[in-house]
C-alpha cells in the first residue's frame, strides 16, 4: 500500500545558516502510530513544521496522500491535524467557538453535533462556554487536540503531547491516542519519554542532529537491540572474576556481591547453560538470580551517544 505520508530527501537550513534537517526520508503507513524520538534540538519540531507548512523546506519533497505539500497544499493540509509543542491559545476566546473556528479554517461547514462529540471525547464539553484562559494546562492541551481534530484529519501530529503533564494526564493522552488509532487516524508523535513510545507506537524513528538514524518496528527494535542482563546474587562476595570465566561478558557489582552477565537475545545460544556450568566448576555459588530486558531508553541512549 502506498504510504499516507512520504518525505524524500528533505533538507532545512534556517536563515541563520543552521542546518536542522539533513536529507530526511520517511514513509508513514496509513493507520500506524509512529513515534519520533530524539534529544533536544534534534529537529523533530522542524520536521513536523515543514510537513505542516509552517517552515519552508530548503529542498526535498513531501507528499500527503499523494498530494505535494507545496504545489497542492490545500489537498495536503486538509488531511493533517497538528497539535504543536507549545500551547498557543487566544486567551479570551470561548472553548466551543475556538474549536468551531478551527473547523471553518479548513473550509468545512459548521457542524455543532460533530464539535459536541469531539469536546465530549476530550472531556471539555462542560467547559464549552468558558474562555480559554480559564482552562488548566492539561485542559488546554486537550483543547488543542480538539481543535486539531475539528476538521476530521486523517493524520494527526502530536508534538510532545505529554511534555510537562502529570502521570494521570499522560495516561489520558495515551488513551486518546489509542482511541484515535482505533478510528483509523494515523498518528505521528514526538516524545522524550521512551516509555511513551514503548506504550503507544507501532514503529519508532530516532532522529539526531537532523538525521534519521533509525526507523524500526518497535517489537523488532526491542528484539534486535534488546540485551538481557542476568544478575546472580552471590553467596560469597568476589573480589575478581575468576580467570576461567574471562571469556564471558561479566561484571561485578554491588561490592562483589552480584555478578551481572550481559547476553544478546538474538544469538542462537545465549551461553547461559555453559556459564552456569563454568560457575559451579569455578566454585562460585549464588543464592538468587534474575533477568532484565533493556528498555527502549537504553537502546536510545546507546544510539544517540554513538552518533
Amino acid at each position: 500500500m502506498a504510504p499516507i505520508l512520504s518525505v524524500r530527501d528533505l533538507e532545512k537550513t534556517y536563515d541563520g545558516g543552521f542546518q536542522a534537517l539533513k536529507s530526511v526520508s520517511l514513509d508513514i503507513q496509513q493507520g500506524e502510530v509512529f513515534a519520533l524520538l530524539g534529544p533536544n534540538g534534534a529537529g523533530k519540531t522542524t520536521l513536523i513544521s515543514t510537513i505542516c507548512g509552517l517552515v519552508r523546506p530548503t529542498s526535498g519533497s513531501i507528499h500527503v496522500c499523494g498530494h505535494d505539500a507545496l504545489s497542492e497544499y490545500r489537498a495536503a493540509r486538509q488531511m493533517i491535524g497538528l497539535v504543536p509543542q507549545e500551547m498557543p491559545t487566544a486567551p479570551f476566546e470561548m472553548v466551543g467557538d475556538t474549536v468551531a473556528f478551527s473547523r471553518g479554517l479548513f473550509g468545512m461547514k459548521p457542524d455543532p453535533a460533530r464539535i459536541e462529540s469531539i469536546l465530549k471525547d476530550l472531556t471539555l464539553w462542560d467547559k464549552r462556554n468558558n474562555p480559554i484562559m480559564a482552562l488548566s494546562g492539561g485542559m488546554k492541551r486537550r483543547l488543542l487536540v480538539a481543535k486539531a481534530l475539528a476538521h476530521e484529519p486523517k493524520i494527526l501530529f502530536l508534538d510532545e503531547p505529554t511534555a510537562g503533564v502529570d502521570v494521570e494526564l499522560r495516561h489520558d493522552m495515551w488513551r486518546i491516542v489509542g482511541e484515535l488509532k482505533n478510528k483509523g487516524v494515523t498518528i505521528i508523535l514526538t516524545t522524550h519519554y521512551i516509555e511513551e513510545a514503548e506504550e503507544m507506537a507501532d514503529r519508532v524513528g530516532v532522529i539526531n542532529k537532523g538525521e534519521i538514524i533509525l526507523v524500526e518496528e518497535k517489537a523488532e527494535l526491542m528484539r534486535k537491540l534488546g540485551r538481557k542482563l542476568l544478575s546472580l546474587s552471590l553467596t560469597e562476595p568476589l573480589s575478581d572474576i575468576p580467570g576461567s570465566l574471562a571469556h564471558y561478558d561479566l561484571k561485578l557489582e554491588d561490592e562483589g556481591r552480584s555478578l551481572v552477565y550481559t547476553y544478546d537475545t538474538q544469538a542462537d545460544r545465549t551461553g547461559i547453560t555453559s556459564l552456569l556450568t563454568d560457575l559451579s566448576q569455578a566454585g562460585v555459588r549464588f543464592h538468587d538470580l534474575q533477568t532484565d530486558q533493556s528498555s527502549l531508553e537504553d537502546i536510545f541512549v546507546g544510539l544517540v551517544s554513538q552518533g
Binding site: L54, R74, A90, P91, E93
Partner: protein, 253 residues
C-alpha cells in the same frame, strides 16, 4: 476559494471588537468630538470660512479621514500581530488557506471596524455643523479605498513588527504627522508657496482632498490625481502583502 475560512477569521475578528467595544468604537468617537470642540469651536471662531465653507464643516472630512486612517491601521496591525505574538497564527498558516484569503479576512475585518467608526463620526458631526455631501458615490469610494488601503498598511506593519514598540512606531511617528500635515484641519492653499509644493509629496493630501471634494466640491488637487494617488497607494500595499506571503517573511521560518 476557502470562503468558510474567510468567514470564520472575519467573524472572530469582529467578535474581538465586540469584546473591546470601548477601545474599538467609543474612544475614537470621544477623541474626535474633542478635536471637533477644540478645532471647530475654539479656532473656528477666528477662521470663519475656508473656500466658502464654515470652518467647523470644513474639518469634518479631514477628521473622518484621520480616524479612518488611524483606526484601519491600528485595527489591522493589532489583528495580525496578536496571533503572531501568542503563536495562534500557526493554525491559520497550516490550514488550507491562501494568502489572498488570509488578507481578505483580516484586512476586511479591520476595514469594517474603521468604516463603522467613520460613519459614527459622520453622524456625530452632523449634530454640530450643517453637512452636505455633494457626491455621495465618490464619498463612499474614497471612504472604502482609504479604509482598505490603510488596513493593508496596518496588516503589513503587524507582520513586520516584532515587538509592541514597533507596532506603535509607524502609526505614531509617520502616519499621524502625515495626516495632520495633509490638510485635515486646513486647506493647503493657506500655506506659504514653498510648503504647498512640499506638501504634495504627502500621499495623505490626495486622500483628504478627494474626500473633501466629495462633500463640498472643493479640492486642493484635482479629483483624478487624488484617485490616481489613492490607487497607487493601494496597489503598492497589495504588492508588499503579496511579497510577504510569497517569501513567508516573518511568518514562516
Amino acid at each position: 476559494m476557502n470562503f468558510e475560512a474567510i468567514k470564520v477569521i472575519y467573524l472572530t475578528e469582529m467578535a474581538r471588537t465586540r469584546r473591546t467595544i470601548m477601545q474599538s468604537i467609543i474612544s475614537p468617537v470621544i477623541s474626535t468630538v474633542l478635536y471637533f470642540v477644540v478645532f471647530g469651536a475654539a479656532i473656528g471662531s477666528r477662521i470663519s470660512e475656508v473656500d466658502g465653507v464654515s470652518y467647523g464643516a470644513f474639518i469634518v472630512p479631514g477628521l473622518i479621514m484621520l480616524s479612518l486612517m488611524t483606526q484601519s491601521l491600528s485595527n489591522a496591525s493589532f489583528g495580525i500581530y496578536f496571533p503572531r505574538f501568542t503563536g495562534t497564527i500557526f493554525e491559520v498558516l497550516s490550514a488550507p488557506v491562501s494568502f489572498l484569503e488570509i488578507t481578505v479576512a483580516y484586512v476586511g475585518a479591520a476595514a469594517t471596524k474603521s468604516i463603522l467608526v467613520g460613519l459614527i463620526i459622520l453622524i456625530t458631526a452632523s449634530f454640530f455643523v450643517p453637512l452636505e455631501i455633494q457626491h455621495p458615490v465618490w464619498m463612499a469610494a474614497f471612504f472604502l479605498l482609504t479604509a482598505i488601503t490603510f488596513a493593508l498598511l496596518g496588516f503589513i506593519i503587524g507582520i513586520w513588527a516584532d515587538n509592541f514598540e514597533k507596532l506603535q512606531f509607524v502609526p505614531l511617528l509617520i502616519v499621524t504627522p502625515l495626516a495632520f500635515l495633509g490638510g485635515s484641519f486646513y486647506s493647503i492653499n493657506m500655506l506659504p508657496e514653498i510648503w504647498q509644493k512640499i506638501t504634495l509629496i504627502n500621499p495623505v493630501v490626495y486622500l483628504i482632498s478627494g474626500f473633501r471634494w466629495s462633500f463640498y466640491g472643493q479640492a486642493d488637487v484635482s479629483l483624478w490625481l487624488s484617485l490616481l494617488a489613492t490607487t497607487i497607494f493601494l496597489g503598492g500595499s497589495l504588492a508588499v502583502v503579496h511579497w510577504i506571503f510569497k517569501t513567508g517573511y516573518r511568518l514562516k521560518a
